[in-house]
Each structure stands twice: as structure tokens, then as C-alpha cells.
């Protein structure tokens, strides 16, 4: 196990309590201690346990899901610019959410389901479009993803245009954030995300082989075609789950794996666990800024971009590539 892993686990615990203790209300760290001691009042309990806690857990799950999916896609496509959205999943989710909003049945649960189903459906269609007689050439898949994403972006723009007074709702959803987080959402995504993360984690070794190229992976006995399907399946499930509860949060899927790659190297046996943990630590922290920096809420996707890009450039310079 890499020496960074215990540090990252401790960082996660620290950030968890930090985020529980900070917020727009004056409830703080001592109130968290009170809850642990069972002496807190109902209002405090409600804010911490029913509002902050599910929000933190959701953001941790989403952060690790996007980071893991990004890392797996970069290995599979052998392309540093691949991210969780290469298969058009984000555009698919936007269309689903926009339709639900447009036809006026936009409950939290409906948007969640619509986004989840439409994004998974998009991934499946892209997969089918990319498939050829000789298997699943990775570049065909990439191009099918790009084509599908631009088509669905067009559809989303059309829907936004047609949405009229509901326009802001769609745009806000697309910008991404955790302000609607609750236990229901956290419970909805916890199983697909944890299961997919475990799958990627135990296949970390095979991802090393894939990184060498498909022929090399085959030559060490990996059934490449079937492995590709499974990795694409888990990455799609991770991304769809994340997008369904939090909208489209960019950059996390690229920046977290690359930051870890620069620190621990290419070996996926250490890269995957550190990426999962760093993703889980990074997302609630950014969300903390989103909900405390101003009186209102800043969409979290804006902050990931503003914060993530300079950090990434710092790492690049430090590594003297």
C-alpha cells in the first residue's frame, strides 16, 4: 500500500468533520460534538444530520465516482484528455433533466430518474454505435461519443430555448451542485457507486495492462474485449449516478486522476485508490466553498474550474514534464 493512502484517509475524516462544522448557519464544531454526546437540540440535529451530512456524503460519493470514472477512461482511451463525459453521458443527462423540467413534472426524484436513465441510455447507444464486427475499437467509440455529445447538446439547447420561464431551472441543473442533496439521493447512488468503484479497484492491475495497448493486454492473457465492456459499463454507471444527483460538474474527472498520477505515478494499483480518496476529499471541500463563500450558493462546477485549473498547472510545473 502506498504511504499516501493513510494520509488521504485521515484527510477525508478531517474534511468530513470540517464540512459538518461549517455552513451558512452558526452551528459549528461544538454542536457536532454535542450530537455525538446526544445532547444537541432538534434544530441543530436537523441541520447537521439531515442537511449537512447527506450533502457531504453525496459530494464525497460524487467526487470519488467522477475521479474514478475519469481515471478508468484515461487508461482505456490511453488519452490524458479523456474524462467521465467522453461517451456523451453529461449531454444525455441534460436532455433527460430538461425534458422533465419542460413538461412540468420536475420533482427532485423525477429529475434524478430522468437524468440517470437518459445518461445510461446515451452511453449504451454510443457503445452500440462504436461497436464493429471486429470488436470495439477505442477510436470509433471516442468519435461516436463526440458525435452523440454534440447532437445531444443541440437538443439540450433547443429544450432550454423552449423552456421559457423554466429556463433558469434547466441551466442551474446543468451547472451542477449539491444544494438539493438529501438522504434519498445519497441512498440512491451509494450502491451503484460503491459497487462500481470496488469493481474498478480490483481491476486496477488489468488497467495497467490496458495502458500498454490492447495487443499487449491480450498477450498477458486478458480478454480485452470483455474487459473493455465491463470498464465502460462501470464508468458509465459511476458517471450517470454522479450526474443524476449533482448535475454536470466538470474538471474533477480530469484533474483528480492527473494530480495523483503526478504524485504516485502511473501504476493503477496505487493510482486508483489514491484517486478515489482524493476525489472524495476534494468534492466536499469545494462544495463547502460553494455554500459558504457568498450569501447564496455558487454552482460547484464553477468553483471546480476556478480552483482546479490553477492547482493542476501548479502540479504540471512542479513535475517538470
Amino acid at each position: 500500500m502506498h504511504k499516501l493512502i493513510p494520509t488521504l484517509i485521515m484527510l477525508n475524516v478531517f474534511i468530513f468533520f470540517l464540512c459538518l462544522s461549517l455552513g451558512s448557519s452558526s452551528i459549528g464544531f461544538y454542536d457536532v460534538i454535542d450530537i455525538l454526546n446526544g445532547v444537541a437540540d432538534d434544530n441543530t440535529k436537523a441541520i447537521i444530520l439531515d442537511y449537512r451530512m447527506p450533502r457531504i456524503i453525496t459530494s464525497m460519493l460524487v467526487g470519488s465516482a467522477l475521479a474514478t470514472a475519469g481515471c478508468a477512461m484515461q487508461a482505456l482511451f490511453r488519452n490524458p484528455l479523456a474524462d467521465p463525459y467522453v461517451l456523451g453521458i453529461s449531454s444525455g443527462a441534460s436532455v433527460g433533466a430538461a425534458i422533465v423540467i419542460l413538461i412540468g413534472i420536475a420533482t427532485t426524484l423525477n429529475i434524478l430518474f430522468a437524468a440517470f436513465i437518459s445518461s445510461l441510455l446515451t452511453a449504451f447507444v454510443v457503445y452500440k454505435l462504436g461497436e464493429t464486427k471486429v470488436g470495439l475499437p477505442i477510436y470509433t467509440l471516442l468519435l461516436a461519443g463526440v458525435a452523440m455529445a454534440s447532437f445531444l447538446s443541440g437538443v439540450t439547447s433547443l429544450l432550454v430555448y423552449l423552456a421559457g420561464k423554466d429556463m433558469h431551472q434547466v441551466i442551474f441543473w446543468i451547472m451542477g451542485g449539491f444544494w438539493t442533496a438529501n438522504w434519498l439521493k445519497a441512498e440512491f447512488i451509494i450502491i451503484p457507486i460503491v459497487a462500481s468503484i470496488i469493481y474498478v479497484l480490483i481491476n486496477a492491475w488489468n488497467l495497467n495492462a490496458i495502458l500498454m495497448g490492447e495487443e499487449h493486454a491480450l498477450s498477458v492473457g486478458i480478454n480485452v474485449e470483455s474487459f473493455k465492456k465491463k470498464i465502460i459499463g462501470s464508468a458509465s454507471l459511476l458517471t450517470s449516478s454522479a450526474v443524476a444527483v449533482s448535475g454536470i460538474i466538470g474538471f474533477v474527472g480530469i484533474i483528480i486522476p492527473h494530480a495523483m498520477r503526478l504524485i504516485v505515478g502511473e501504476n493503477h494499483r496505487t493510482l486508483i485508490p489514491t484517486t478515489i480518496l482524493f476525489g472524495a476529499a476534494f468534492m466536499p471541500l469545494v462544495d463547502l466553498i460553494a455554500r459558504t463563500a457568498t450569501d447564496g450558493e455558487i454552482p460547484v462546477g464553477i468553483i471546480t474550474a476556478l480552483l482546479g485549473a490553477p492547482f493542476f498547472i501548479y502540479l504540471l510545473k512542479r513535475a517538470k514534464v
Binding site: W205, A209, M212, S219, V220, G221, N267, R269
Partner: protein, 413 residues
């Protein structure tokens, strides 16, 4: 482990890439697949590994159909090294460890034992201490040796190597072939698709020549490599030379313009004294003949190479009366005769007698480079004979001087 490829036919799309391929490879064998680009060499390797399924025919591993195995089982038996090296920042040790993948159960990581095997493999290719280096920062030769270590770590009994020496400098090419050769001698079989015929003939025991998806020649290097098979397979003209028990292939000497085609020059030589004369005269456009020479003498090789007429005698045999007569006849027909700076023993004294005839006819030039006494092993009488020749011929200090006057002399006549 015995590999048998039987009547294999492979189609890619609508075109038939392999047509009825059959061969067997046993352990301790290093087999080269030679053939032009697109002849099907890589396809043969991929079919053996089970990546491509034949539409007809079977690949057997120790009598079992390869299609019965999954990739993991095949990878335990066969180490396949694809043509292109990966581009990756993985550490060297992680790459070599990938060779252990077929031996570790799914969802598991390599053990300490696997690490030890990987480090040993790295050591065996001479890259001890490279384990923590980044693969992307190695030289081409080092990268290829890491990949060789990877298939060694796989501990399979059959190695399939797709152009393992491509893009490497000569020392790395030889190192790679030596590493594989050493492995083969420890009891594995290797099949190597390769473009370098000389590397193939130097290291492989058997050569399969492939053209248009068919094996058209099989055998030991010296049996199958000759100008006509190379012409047949690669459609190019080469000379095949022997060097000890090695053979090597070079581009055919450029065609000579026979602008002096009516003129014939005979060289009396032996023991290498005529090589320069034969080649240069040929380049100058003359028909060159030589004699009497022992077969396999280096002068004999030279005259064979320029396709000249030769009067020859069995290796190490003295010149017979019959060969002498034949030599004299050739001399009669020649426009000019050159006596090279040859050594004379009892076996070839008759060559000097022939030279005397030429001298008497007034068409002898002599290269008298080193004192005759130092190259005469046939007694005083021969010394006198040589002196008689010199008296009737034009004498030159070395080959260059003779060659300079040849044109002139022939014009005068």
C-alpha cells in the same frame, strides 16, 4: 511443448490472409518467419496466439486445439510480444510484472514471489537496477529488452516475437537475438517474424519463407537462403555469401556495362592474389576468366561472383594435365593475360607454364609485388621459369599499375 499449425486458413474481411499454413515447432527450436510486408507473418503469430480464429485448420498445443483454451490459459503457455512497443510512463518493474498476469488469479495483485521472478527476468536481460526507471525514459534498445524480460517473466514455453529487432541499432539487435537464443537453449521454442535475413540466418535453426499467405520454403538457413528463393519471395536481386558456416545476404553488385565486351582478359592467380584484379576488370567491363583455381579458393569465389569463366580443380588438389590444357585453351582465346602475385608450390607450377605460353604470345602482364623467392615453394627450377616469364612480359609493381595500362595495352593491339 510442441506447437503444430495445421492447414490454417485465415480471412480478414473478404481477403484471405493465410492460405493453408502448416508447420510444426518443437522446443529448442528458433524459427524465423521471413517474408515481405503484408505476406502474413504477423497474422501467423496472431493466429497461433488465438487472437484470430482460422476459418479452416487448427493450431495444436501439445495435441490440444488452441480454441479450447481461454486467453489466460494461452498466455501461460505462449509468450507473445506484439510488434509495437507501448508508450507509457509505467515503471519498468510494473511492466515486467505484467508478465505474471496469467499466473495470478483475477482480482489479485502479484505476490512477492512474482516480484522475484520479475526482477530475475530483468536481470537476465542485463537490466538489473532498472526496475524503478520510467519506461518512457529508456532508449529503444532498453525498452525492447524490458519487453523481452516481460515475456520471460511469463515463463511460457513458446515465444512468439513480432519483429523484435525493428528500429534497434545493431548492438541491440544482436543482444535481443542472443537473449532469445539463450532462452531457446534452455528448452523453449521461439517463432520470430523478422525482416533482417542476416539476423535470421545467424540465430535461427530453421527458416520459414512466407509469401502471399503461404509458406513456400522451409529448411535450415543454408538450405533455403539463396539468390533464387530471395528473388521468389522478396522479388529483389541479391548475392548470398558464405562466411565460415554463416551465410549472409547483400544487395547484388550493380550490373556492369559491357562496353569492352569483345575483350577477354584471363587472370592466372590463386590464394586470393587475383581478387582485386577480377573485381576491377569486371567493373571495367571486360569479360574476366581465371584459372587454374582450386574450388573454394577466395579467387574462385571472386570469379564465380562476377560470373566469369573459370578453369578449376578440386579443393587442395594439384593441377592436372587436363586442367592445364584447358587453361592454355582459355589463354589462347584471351586478348590479354595477367599473372597475379601468386605463391607457387609444386601443385600449381603448371600455372607458371601456362603463363609462359601467354608471355611467348606477347600478351602477358605480370604483377610482381613481392620478391618471387618469398612466394616460391617449388624449388630453383621454378625460379628460372619465372625469370624466363619476366623476360618476355611487361612487369608491374602492383595491381593498380597493371589496371591503369590495361585499356591502353588493348588499344595498341
Amino acid at each position: 511443448m510442441i506447437l503444430e499449425v495445421k492447414n490454417v486458413k485465415v480471412k480478414l474481411g473478404s481477403s484471405e490472409i493465410l492460405k493453408d499454413i502448416t508447420f510444426k515447432v518443437d522446443k529448442y527450436e528458433m524459427v524465423a518467419l521471413l517474408g515481405p510486408n503484408g505476406s502474413g507473418k504477423s497474422t501467423i503469430l496472431k493466429t497461433i496466439f488465438g487472437v484470430l480464429r482460422p476459418i479452416n485448420g487448427v493450431v495444436y498445443l501439445d495435441g490440444e486445439n488452441i480454441e479450447e483454451f481461454n486467453f489466460k490459459e494461452i498466455a501461460r503457455k505462449i509468450g507473445y510480444l506484439p510488434q509495437e512497443n507501448p508508450e507509457t510512463n509505467l515503471k519498468v518493474v510494473d511492466i515486467v510484472l505484467l508478465g505474471r498476469t496469467p499466473h495470478i488469479s483475477e482480482f489479485k495483485s502479484p505476490s512477492k514471489g512474482d516480484l522475484k521472478i520479475a526482477l530475475n527476468a530483468l536481470k537476465s536481460v542485463g537490466l538489473e537496477g532498472f526496475e524503478d526507471r520510467k519506461f518512457s525514459e529508456l532508449s529503444g534498445g532498453e525498452k525492447q529488452k524490458v519487453m523481452i524480460a516481460r515475456i520471460f517473466a511469463q515463463q511460457s514455453e513458446i515465444l512468439l516475437l513480432d519483429e523484435p529487432t525493428a528500429h534497434l541499432d545493431i548492438s541491440s539487435q544482436i543482444e535481443v537475438m542472443e537473449l532469445v537464443n539463450k532462452k531457446v537453449k534452455s528448452g523453449v521454442a521461439a517463432i520470430i517474424a523478422i525482416h533482417d535475413i542476416n539476423l535470421a540466418t545467424s540465430f535461427c535453426n530453421r527458416i520459414l519463407m512466407v509469401k502471399d499467405g503461404k509458406i513456400i520454403r522451409v529448411g535450415k538457413p543454408e538450405e533455403v537462403i539463396n539468390p533464387s528463393t530471395i528473388k521468389e519471395v522478396f522479388n529483389t536481386n541479391v548475392d548470398v555469401k558464405k562466411f565460415g558456416n554463416r551465410i549472409y545476404v547483400v544487395p547484388k553488385a550493380k550490373g556492369v556495362k559491357r562496353n569492352n565486351k569483345n575483350k577477354k582478359i584471363h587472370v592466372i592467380c590463386g590464394g586470393g592474389s587475383g581478387v582485386e584484379l577480377i573485381y576491377k576488370l569486371n567493373e571495367m567491363g571486360y569479360y574476366v576468366s581465371a584459372g587454374v583455381l582450386n574450388v573454394l579458393d577466395s579467387d574462385w569465389h571472386a570469379i564465380m561472383e562476377v560470373d566469369g569463366e573459370v578453369v578449376d580443380e578440386a579443393p587442395f588438389s594439384p593441377i592436372s594435365q587436363r586442367s592445364f590444357q584447358e587453361n592454355v585453351e582459355v589463354i589462347e582465346k584471351s586478348d590479354l593475360v595477367i599473372l597475379a602475385n601468386l605463391s607457387v608450390g609444386v601443385g600449381n607450377v603448371l600455372n607458371l607454364k601456362a603463363a609462359l605460353r601467354a608471355a611467348e604470345n606477347g600478351k602477358l602482364l605480370v604483377v610482381d609485388k613481392t620478391p618471387f623467392a618469398t612466394r616460391n615453394f617449388a624449388g630453383d627450377e621454378t625460379e628460372n621459369l619465372y625469370r624466363a616469364i619476366l623476360a618476355k612480359a611487361r612487369v608491374f609493381k602492383d595491381e593498380t599499375q597493371v589496371l591503369r595500362v590495361v585499356d591502353e595495352v588493348l588499344l595498341e593491339r
